[in-house]
């Protein structure tokens, strides 16, 4: 019922992107993502899409894994595409009995391709390293300490609470509870959520005391073992160059 975040499930594969320095990977991929979402032209967007597919292939991540997570963005942009194609003002073209707007199809397609191409890059970026390496890279990139720590703690506790809530639901279902669309169900699920907060809060207290007793000061000390070499600089420059190139095309 509740899915685990499994983004780094394939972090131990071996590919060029798995060997890419995390800091260089984050900076260059984010540049590329920001560049892709701002492409004004459909042809350039298709080129960026091809490049994203190429990067994805380089990462050797299983396609079924990526498709599972691309479902959301695809559904979102396809519904926008459909609405725009049907309702966009301007020149119409007819498709069997339905009249579609040419401009609507164009801008819907542009949006969809940009969205999927950009989201697809999240997986070669984050899915090719363990999440703790991502966190360490963010820390070394001088993202404010308090935000990096919140990301790290929140990520860890998602697994704990997914399990916790799952146990609570199993207990409820074993007593005959079924989640339906009625007031009673909402009241029960509300109390279950409330219980999750009480448990999480009490756990937070204990964890914080335990951390204090181990010398926690709020400033984590990370042992940095990332090394940038010529190959990392080359790959990062290549990706950033492509990101700029997308906006120089006419």
């Amino acid at each position: 019922m509740i899915e685990y975040p499994e983004i780094d499930r394939y972090a131990d594969l071996d590919s060029i992107l798995h060997k890419f320095d995390p800091r260089a990977k984050i900076v260059s991929f984010l540049t590329l993502i920001f560049s892709i979402v701002l492409i004004p032209d459909l042809k350039v967007a298709l080129m960026a899409f091809t490049f994203s597919v190429f990067i994805l292939a380089l990462s050797k991540l299983p396609l079924s894994f990526v498709f599972k997570y691309l479902k959301w963005v695809t559904m979102f942009v396809l519904s926008i595409f459909t609405i725009l194609a049907l309702t966009f003002p301007g020149e119409k073209t007819s498709f069997y009995f339905i009249s579609l707007s040419k401009d609507g199809i164009y801008s819907g397609a542009l949006i969809s391709i940009r969205a999927i191409a950009a989201t697809m890059l999240v997986f070669p970026m984050i899915g090719t390293m363990r999440f703790d390496e991502t966190i360490k890279a963010l820390y070394m990139l001088r993202i404010p300490n308090s935000l990096v720590q919140m990301l790290m703690f929140t990520y860890r506790y998602i697994f704990v609470f997914a399990d916790e809530f799952h146990r609570m639901l199993t207990a409820m279902e074993s007593k005959g509870f079924k989640l339906k669309t009625n007031l009673y169900s909402f009241a029960v699920i509300g109390r279950a959520i409330g219980m999750l907060f009480v448990k999480s809060y009490e756990r937070a207290e204990r964890v914080y005391q335990a951390m204090l007793s181990r010398g926690y000061t709020g400033n984590p000390k990370t042992i940095a073992d990332f090394k940038m070499d010529a190959k990392d600089f080359f790959l990062a420059t290549l990706i950033i160059f492509f990101a700029i190139f997308l906006h120089l095309m006419k």
Partner: protein, 200 residues
């Protein structure tokens, strides 16, 4: 889902979202630093953020389909001013762990969900009762939907139908969210009242 995905908004809107969000994060963190060390709050804040993240993954059946809870009103009720950074962190994790929402739109999505959370907090502070919990929860989702609608309308009049579909889709969610907010508030005020009203 009131998240906008990548690839839709213009540069100006994306930049505006990031600027507002970064300013509000700096402001809310500074505000809570005034009342004591932030280092002490981070583990607690993160644990509650994770609980919200998990709660928003629950599928609630609505007729033949199912919806996810947004819970931004409850985040506001429980975390107070710190709800803004909590929502920001939640959105980053959703974008990077599940590909939900988008990377470039984190700023604008945080604004659309975080500002209503802050408003829900100020509504709940008037009176800490299940009724005001329900109002705060419902208002937070309604405002989030309206802000998202306003953001989509910056793209031009051709998005009117997208906005209508968005609003219609969210009407049942608004009702469910306020019922669940009332139930959570009623439960917490009996079991652990110190969790309500922005915490200590």
């Amino acid at each position: 889902m009131v998240h906008i995905s990548d690839g839709i908004l213009s540069f100006q809107v994306l930049a505006f979202g990031w600027i507002v969000t970064l300013l509000l994060i700096a402001l809310t963190l500074w505000w809570s630093k005034r009342k004591g060390s932030i280092a002490e709050k981070i583990p607690k804040l993160s644990v509650v953020t994770a609980a919200f993240f998990v709660a928003s993954l629950i599928h609630i059946p609505v007729g033949p389909t199912s919806v996810h809870l947004i819970l931004n009103g409850l985040v506001g009720i429980m975390l107070g001013t710190l709800s803004y950074p909590a929502i920001f962190i939640g959105l980053i994790l959703q974008a990077f762990l599940f590909g939900h929402g988008g990377v470039t739109v984190i700023g604008i999505n945080a604004m659309d969900m975080g500002i209503p959370a802050l408003i829900a907090y100020s509504i709940f502070r008037i009176r800490q009762s299940p009724l005001f919990g329900a109002i705060a929860g419902g208002v937070a989702v309604t405002l989030a939907v309206l802000l998202t609608a306003a953001v989509l309308l910056t793209l031009g009049e051709s998005y009117v139908w997208v906005v209508r579909a968005l609003i219609i889709y969210h009407i049942p969610i608004i009702v469910i969210e306020s019922l669940i907010a009332a139930s959570v508030v009623a439960f917490l005020s009996k079991v652990k009242p110190e969790l309500l009203g922005g915490g200590k």
